[in-house]
């Protein structure tokens, strides 16, 4: 391809509102342009990267017998009303009416669409398992789109859905998809971690998230420095072994005045006790208004996602202080597990559940109890105890094999075991081996295709611009003649172009009438893996090769370039 025919508008300045590296360089190098907030045009170079990513995804999906399909982007609201998500999905859902005033949405994901399609046509377990996927624009009306391709309102996603008659089938496909995803991200050349994800949002039971570590990431990934363990901060667990302290002597419970101890630090100082020997109590409310008191040791934070998953509710939030005072008799800072009203549930973090003779709020403003003990002072059942704390950096990982470290990550893929949530809601049943109608078991599997461009850019770009791995570079080789009016340079450039094509690679030829400095700066900016500069030594048949990622730079005979391409461009 001749660069003069390519729409590749590089910029000298980066627009001021581009906050992260990928956004800056993708704009500056002429890969993307905004059309409205959070909706980007992919210019020719970016579209070529997308096409290459999509080809890799298709190959790996075919390898696991996934069927490619394509469903409409406009969906009747009725479909989402039946699953319940029309009401619960929130403001991110684009809603509109057609000319007959019927309600529609723009699909942000397609669990309902595929459940309905497969459910209408598949009626027997004999036709299962079935795995389908598509690559297509998706829509989410983000409140605050930003960070370029990282948080957008319209984005390209590969979404896949599995349908099986039993959970063994789901587990098998889930595992195959994990392998397929690893293959995809390995081939693309991304650094990524497979982490324990929060399946709750999709209504599923189990999930794994693929996250690309990068400073611009919006998620905090917690990983073990000594093992493969990794999880989202919301799901991460540190190591704790329960201790049986029932034989220890229990002191008498005693109520004391603590008028100036509203925080754990203040209480810790007042009582001269370390924070991990105190408990703190917060009260959360679910969407139905049910209150739950959550008790942890004073040195950790309550993890609301863990609480919500244990309660099996879509969301919990800190309860209103006025309501708490009315119900429990005290404001925040003086709450505790002793004497809770019957209609307030109790959950206790395992570390707090193992304390004896500990201090806790007395549910009376300015008062605490000393020497509280479980069972004697507060009835506690095993099912009320669990891990409800947010893991801390430096703690031992849950597998006991190393310390937890924190890093920022970009979610690039997520696979979910959905179970029967959607098949039950939409009536997608098959007859099983015994002729009984059963809900199909489902999984759903997503990759953020357009977001991958940002993730790769965040990980690879350097101070000169973008750096594309060979597998997804828009072109493999950038041929840069310094002066095309020089016959030697023109001839060598033309020969190189032909040789590269014959070797099965794609080249971009900078045939513009620009100064060498401009050509080099643009070449570095757009980031093709191999640059071949054709300059004065073209008369001797010598060209200069620059490998973008390593920065290696050397002269060699033009005639020997083609034979080296496979080494330089390992995919």
């Amino acid at each position: 391809m001749k660069q003069s025919k390519l729409f590749m508008p590089t910029l000298r300045e980066v627009p001021a509102d581009a906050e992260v590296k990928s956004h800056q360089y993708l704009l500056k190098a002429g890969y993307i342009r905004p059309v409205s907030a959070g909706a980007f045009a992919y210019l020719p170079l970016a579209k070529r990267v997308l096409n290459k990513v999509e080809a890799i995804v298709r190959e790996e999906m075919e390898a696991v017998n996934a069927n490619e399909m394509l469903v409409p982007e406009i969906l009747p609201a009725e479909l989402w009303q039946r699953s319940g998500r029309y009401a619960t999905y929130g403001q991110d859902l684009y809603k509109f009416k057609n000319r007959q005033e019927r309600d529609f949405i723009l699909g942000p994901t397609h669990e309902e669409t595929f459940t309905e399609l497969i459910g209408n046509d598949i009626k027997s377990y004999k036709k299962l398992p079935l795995l389908v996927y598509q690559i297509q624009a998706k829509f989410r009306d983000e409140g605050r789109p930003r960070f370029g391709l990282l948080r957008t309102r319209e984005f390209i996603m590969k979404d896949a859905y599995s349908f099986t008659a039993d959970y063994e089938g789901l587990d098998q496909i889930f595992d195959q998809m994990e392998v397929a995803y690893r293959n995809i991200f390995d081939r693309i050349g991304l650094d990524y971690r497979v982490i324990v994800g929060d399946a709750g949002a999709m209504g599923g039971s189990d999930s794994k998230e693929f996250s690309a570590p990068a400073a611009a990431g919006e998620d905090t990934i917690v990983y073990s420095e000594g093992s493969d363990y990794a999880a989202n901060l919301e799901m991460a667990s540190d190591f704790y072994e329960r201790v049986d302290r029932s034989a220890e002597k229990k002191a008498d419970i005693e109520k004391i005045d603590t008028p100036n101890a509203k925080t754990i630090d203040e209480l810790s100082a007042l009582l001269d006790l370390p924070a991990d020997q105190l408990v703190k109590t917060i009260v959360v409310a679910d969407p139905e208004g049910q209150l739950t008191a959550v008790v942890t040791t004073g040195d950790v934070e309550v993890n609301l996602v863990k609480v919500q998953n244990r309660l099996g509710v879509p969301e919990v939030e800190l309860a209103d202080e006025g309501l708490v005072k009315e119900k429990l008799g005290a404001s925040f800072g003086s709450l505790g597990p002793v004497g809770l009203p019957e209609d307030v549930q109790l959950l206790v973090d395992e570390r707090a559940a193992d304390l004896v003779n500990f201090a806790a709020g007395a549910n009376e403003d300015g008062k605490h109890y000393l020497n509280v003990n479980w069972d004697r002072d507060v009835a506690l059942k095993d099912e009320q105890v669990g891990d409800f704390r947010t893991a801390k950096e430096g703690a031992l990982a849950v597998d006991g094999k190393g310390k937890l470290a924190f890093t920022k990550g970009i979610e690039i893929g997520h696979i979910f075991k959905l179970g029967t949530k959607y098949s039950k809601a939409l009536g997608a049943q098959v007859l099983d081996q015994n002729g009984r109608a059963v809900d199909m078991i489902m999984g759903s599997y997503g990759i953020g295709i357009s977001r991958l461009l940002a993730a790769v850019s965040e990980q690879k770009a350097d101070e000169k611009g973008l750096v594309w791995p060979a597998a997804i570079a828009p072109y493999d080789v950038h041929i840069v003649p310094i002066n095309l009016k020089d016959d030697d340079q023109a001839n060598v450039a033309a020969e190189l172009e032909e040789q590269v094509a014959k070797a099965g690679f794609e080249s971009l030829v900078d045939d513009r009438k620009e100064r060498a400095g401009v050509k080099f700066a643009d070449a570095d900016l757009i980031g093709l893996p191999v640059r071949i500069t054709v300059g004065k030594k073209a008369s001797e048949g010598i060209v200069e090769v620059t490998l973008r990622e390593s920065g290696e730079n050397f002269e060699m005979p033009a005639s020997e370039v083609a034979a080296k391409l496979n080494d330089w461009l390992q995919k």
Copy 2:
């Protein structure tokens, strides 16, 4: 691919609301399913056809140096307000608001989007010409979606846009695109005609439409039986050579009573004159309310599109009879060109303009004039005369080389010279060679990708089902073992699958436990080009080959199949 893993739900019955062949078979053969009225899911077989069509389109677009891009489907209303189309596009435009209550549309086409993108980044004629395209879902809120993939609300379109600094550049790209389009439709294996289209709808000056003849087509194509001439009925012209009859004797004009002659037939009978010696006059109104009387001979129909294009207005319609009576003094049936009010314009078809001593309505109910003559009785300028009639089947074509015949056609592509309509509206200018800012010259070029599936099906399907040309068939070869429990059959089928793959072709293997009759019926229905039946003679290494389109059927050694594939599957 094993058929047991493929989501390919064939039906025994065709849904009652499927009116045309392509809709019926695409449903029955498990290619498409509706998700809402006019919005279809493409199941795996259809998606494979789409992918093959798209690959051909991409190759031919690359061949003319078109740059692939991808723009958002959600567009800010502001972009279409600036071009004026937000108000004029009509009810087909999907409109919605985002969470900030800003107005958006779903793109039905992208002249504005690309004009804005290119206009923002290209500032000099030196960067032109530029040709960009994309393949993407488009949206039109059709009042009455029907005929399966022929009239839908969401469809896949290849749209391309050219930007040049001058009209010579536009003409050159327009011609290259016509060649590219011919290549695409030739490679796909469609029968099509290139016809003179109506450029008015896109605001352009010149257009060619690619139409696939088929009974289900919604357009009438007029073509010459003796030449390449073809046009939409709205644009078709028959042959007429103007005659100078100024030397003929003009009789005195005379007003007569014609109380019972309201139609041309009645008038013709009353006066004993053939209809082509009378004129009829209709009055049309444009959107501003301007009235125009259009005069033709009595034997032809007025063509409103020709009238509208001559007047340069977006639309004309028959004027209200009450208004006409008020303005001209008579109702329909007694109208004529003599004594028109000054604010009513006049257009005269060339055949009517050459009449002498003709009869016309007197603008007085129940009265006609005899012996009307132009100039003497009605002033007539050359610019008021033209072709304003609808061509008739059997008339000589405008090129004088054969009779006009009519057929129904499906619009599959359309290329437009747009000129500066959009660049002017959106301020997309470049500096020309003299440093002057000039509006860019544009063209736009569309292919209905998803509609092509329907067009091919309409042309090729037979009484047994779909028939795919080799270039776009979902798989090349259908291997149909009768009984996979028979080891010979299983082995031969497996060998064939391997051979076909080695020869570079794709096969679908019917590994289902179904009766032979069911397998054959499904194979005919889905329409792969080559079927290889592996039956009892597998023990002798003999298989049966059936070519879907010709119906040819013969036995041959399985080992010789691979060598014949290139002959059977010419693409």
